[in-house]
Amino acid sequence: MNNVTQLLAFAGFIVFIYIWRWIYTANLPATWDQVDFVLAIDRFDLLVMQPHFPGYPYYILGGMIAHRWILDPGTALIVFNLIVMLSSIVPIYALSRRYTTHGKSLLIIAGVHSTAYLWILSAQPMAETSALALLCWYWWSLSKAMDSTTYGWQLFPLFVFSLIMGIRLSYLAFGFGIVLLWVYDYLRGRVAGYSFRRLLFRLLGWVAWALLFQSIWVIGLIMSAGNISGFIQMAMAFTGGHFHDWGGTASFSVIDLLQRLYTLIVHNLLWTGLTVQSISMAALLIVSLSFIIYKSKKVQWSQLDLFARWFVVMGVAYLVFAWLAQNIDKPRHIAPLILMTIGVLSLILIRNTNEQSWKRYLSLGLIHLLILTQASTGAIIVKQQSEEQPAVYQLAERLQQLQTESELPIMVYTWEETRVFEFLQVEFNHKRIYTFPFFLEETKALSPRRIFITGQALDGFIAQGAELEHQTQLVEVFHSDTRFDPVYAEIRLYEWLH
């Protein structure tokens, strides 16, 4: 296969997967966060959670600009995702070329872009995909800064990192790469004979630049809040959450931590992220992994080049952060590691396979199989996602039905489902409820209206120790695919008996 054919095949593949994702978008928001983003397009207002704090300003800005041409706000956000993800071809190519040939780099790009789980995320109005694409730019910018000593190249990662922070603040752990860069730059400066003072000022200059770049989006947020004091008040109010509404404590033992780690790596990263819960995909990955282990000699830390080490360190830093500080129920939080793993896996699989011909054919065969399987699974899943009615929407329909059937207006108590109801502007009354005593009080005030409550809210009460024997009656259970919404894929609806 010569270069032109490779390029054409690659281009055709990319065009196909992006057009497919453009057509099969899941543009109707089905979760709290998605509603926040979609509503923010028409009105950016942090106070009413459009979107929630810290605001994801660059993402919403991108969506607003896309909205000029695309009528539906959800689709506008998704299209922005796709455009930014498309651009990530450049940095992935450049990074791959550091380690392998042109043709194999194209395969690596295809490998990364075909990842089924990333298809799911990119077709949702969520900030993940744009942030992931920018991470690719960021990693490449770090490698350029490492290779060069010119001032401009050192600023590049600082700028890209500020873009990432303006899209998804929880990727802060990747800022560790900049710290590594600064330490490295200092050390190479010393080796080159520069004085401590000169290097210190150079470093301080970069810190200033980094802060300057970050301040751009912060200023955007402040402007949208009206003035600085208003913004600070709001920020303090939002970050002062913690355990107030729950009246409980967050105690964690070592066992809980280990359980979290297991869930994170085995369930979120491996089973959901890499294999989208498909056994055939898992089998394929295991075969590929076995092949890699077979053909590789012992891999030592010192064999990895400097950028590869930084890459691993950043990955571990983010893993630790996700392990300790993020909601373990949502696999999308581990998306950067999914991306990194697929990228590295693809690279190791096809790199340096020039020795024996059977190994070469097997490795190329495996990667093509991987790409095709991920892409076809991705295509099917994304189509399913765009056509399937989320459990929350099914719930809304049923409740509308119950509302029309009842003489008095009904009242529905939920957790996060209420946000989607707000978006749908449903006719029935609904609200979020956490604390059981407050709920009881309201039911007394509301009687004889019919009261409904969702499973999540009810479970919350039980966790608080409420006694609910004979107080509830199951009305219906609604299902949708857990890969699209892990927490609310199953919704139980109960009626509260007075």
Binding site: L47, F53, L187, F196, G220, W246, N429, E441
Partner: protein, 251 residues
């Protein structure tokens, strides 16, 4: 040698990063839309509907709000509530506290009209008004609450929006805001009458005309004196650091 230094620095910074997220485990966002005096009402009602009633608990919750109630709505109001409590008159206390929430609603709207040009301040005031209303809502008839919900939305929209980097900017409309806030108050307040307990005093409760404090009660989280001290301390530390480096001929 250089490898080791790099490794050590990395490990140290790494450990620092591990310490950072430690406390964030069960994180849930706070809510600037919650009004403290209204939230306390919810807690008190829960206490008063238990049997037997633990009046001291209810009193403790109320005491936390008493200073606020007294300064915003007048000492008479607070005294009336005190009397209701000491008489252990559950109905009267709850009814009067609801009335206080109504007064709070009026207070928030009055101040937001006064400060209408200050977008950030008005937004927060209306959010607090909404937070108060949400607590009263279950006690109002449902046909009224649908209309009131709409009125709140229209009022909030009438505040305008500076947009994101200027994109999506919307102008404010004071006339509409006045209209909606008047509608809300006129609809809600009649449901929340205040029963005076002070003898011979039958004039309606009015807001104190001269207000000494700012429209938004800001719980001062930072003390100016302490902030200044810390800033001076940091400058001193940096200064000492530079002096030490100078001495060691590094700079």
């Amino acid at each position: 040698m250089r490898q080791n230094k790099l490794r050590i620095t990395i490990i140290m910074l790494f450990v620092l990063c591990l310490l950072l997220p430690g406390g964030a485990l069960a994180y849930s966002y706070g809510d600037p839309n919650k009004e403290d005096v209204a939230e306390s009402f919810k807690e008190i009602v829960v206490e008063l509907n238990l049997s037997p009633i633990d009046w001291s608990k209810a009193e403790a919750i109320y005491k936390a709000r008493r200073a606020e109630i007294s300064s915003h709505f007048g000492e008479d109001v607070a005294v009336t509530l005190d009397v209701n409590l000491s008489d252990e008159d559950k109905e009267a206390f709850i009814a009067n506290y609801k009335a206080v929430l109504g007064m709070n609603l009026k207070r928030r709207f009055d101040y937001s009209l006064k400060a209408f040009d200050d977008y950030a301040a008005t937004k927060l005031l209306v959010a607090k008004a909404k937070g108060t209303y949400d607590v009263i809502k279950p006690y109002l008839p449902s046909d009224k609450t649908d209309e009131l919900d709409k009125a709140f939305n229209v009022a909030y929209d009438a505040l305008g929006n500076p947009g994101l980097f200027g994109v999506g900017e919307k102008p404010s409309d004071e006339a509409v805001f006045k209209e909606q806030s008047a509608y809300i108050l006129n609809t809600v307040l009649p449901f929340l009458p205040f029963e005076d307990q002070i003898e011979g005093d039958s004039k309606p409760k009015q807001q104190p005309d001269e207000v000494e404090h700012a429209p938004m009660e800001r719980t001062k989280k930072t003390n100016t004196a302490i902030s200044t001290f810390i800033i001076l301390l940091v400058i001193a530390i940096i200064g000492i650091g530079i002096w030490i480096f100078r001495k060691k001929k590094l700079l």
